[in-house]
Amino acid sequence: MALKRSGFDSRWVQHFRRQSVATKQSSDVDAWLERETDHVRKALESASRHFDGNDNLTVNTLEAVYARESSFGSPTMLGKRGSSGAAGHFQFRPDTAKRYGLNVSKNNDQRFDIDYVSSAVARYLKDLHTFFSKDTTLIGITKTIGIKNPSERKKFVLGAFNAGEGNIAKAQRLAQKAGKDPQLWAHVEKFLESAGASKTTANEAGRYVENVPLYESEFASKSPADKNIKQKEPGKGDTRCTEGHWRTIDDRRVFICD
């Protein structure tokens, strides 16, 4: 027996069906690019200045991460200002946001300001890239193992962005102890649960590392964002970019690392 719906209900259902059909014809990336305003694109391009010739991170990496974190800042998804949990365009937690120089309060939450938060995310990704470029002591005996292969290294960077760098470093050590290759993401991700991540977090990190590069390559072919703003020269040294100051350049807030 067919379910009888009210007029109001059926109008909404028809509307949503039309919307669903419309989205199925094009990919998720197309839908996200429709949402990408000039302001957002410029903010992401500007943030990509924190990347350099040492890494394979680009403005398209930022676009892919932005899509995966909050579906390009969909208002349904952002969360509450001043929230003590993950919130904002890139679902940053307050402590990570504060570490990268952002204000987090009910009246002024810069996790919701795309200019500020995209810069913070770019610096965090760059720091993670540094951690996994060579053996780095995170704390006590928790050390990362440097990844030689750049494309493998990127998987570790994305995995650490999603599941936390401590968990990944611990999983690398466990993989090494078990006779597996700690420089291969496919081997290391199997040890995430033993490293302390919950089963759901471990599974999700696996999907994150799988999906974000796919989105990134699609953004690379479709997005009008300027990939040449990234510094072409390799950066000198591996200092972290958590300390610094904000300056306004061309009407945009830019973080200058000390």
Partner: protein, 212 residues
């Protein structure tokens, strides 16, 4: 005339009762927030800090290049899940290490004097809790959790999570039962009314909920 006076007195009395009831519940919840937001909790990141004492609902611990944080999410539920006759509590906390974070239930047992954090149950990286019930030793949570292809900010998997306090593990995962309801998008919409103005995200929600 006398009847009118009777009605107006009765209405005033009911309003007074409602206001008093609201004030009492507001005061109780403020006291609970004060208590649970300034308690000591175990962490799931012992290599940074084994325990942290929250101050005003938040605490950050650093060690080397790593940092750990915990916050009390201002949600609590009461029930006697260890069945000793004392009122225990379940509190929602968010733990994070680096960017990775997770939403947890902290099971707090009342030992006669104070609450002690004994076990924890994992919900999801981000979770929307619709309701929580304590039935005997079982804690039953109706919630939205992240499912495959969700963006991190938008959990759309409607599940019932069941934790059994009698289990031995200190860090538990829930037994999950999947629920598919025609009302899921409506619940999501009520929790985020701004979505009404954002039709593309509606399509997103519907697609993810796989209702139509």
């Amino acid at each position: 005339m006398r009847l009118n006076r009777f009605y107006s007195t009765a209405i005033c009395f009911v309003i007074c009762l409602l206001v008093c009831g609201f004030l009492v519940s507001w005061r109780q919840s403020a006291e609970a927030h004060q208590l649970f937001g300034n308690m000591t909790y175990m962490t799931d990141c012992p290599y940074v800090a084994e325990k942290v004492k929250l101050v005003n609902g938040y605490r950050e611990a650093r060690s080397g290049l790593l940092h750990y944080s915990m916050c009390y999410d201002r949600k609590y539920f009461y029930g006697d899940f260890n069945q000793d006759g004392l009122k225990d509590a379940v509190v929602v906390i968010v733990q994070g290490e680096g960017h990775g974070s997770g939403t947890w239930l902290a099971f707090l047992v009342h030992d006669g004097k104070k609450y002690v954090h004994t076990k924890s149950g994992f919900l999801s990286r981000t979770a929307i809790i619709n309701s929580l019930k304590v039935k005997g030793s079982r804690i039953i949570v109706d919630m939205f959790v992240l499912q495959a292809d969700d963006c991190n900010a938008g959990p759309t998997g409607h599940v019932i999570g069941i934790f059994d306090y009698r289990r031995r593990e200190r860090w538990m995962d829930a037994k999950r039962i999947s629920v598919k309801s025609i009302f899921d998008p409506i619940i999501l919409m009520l929790k985020a009314p701004s979505s009404l103005l954002d039709l593309p995200s509606w399509a997103y929600v519907l697609e993810r909920c796989k209702i139509f």
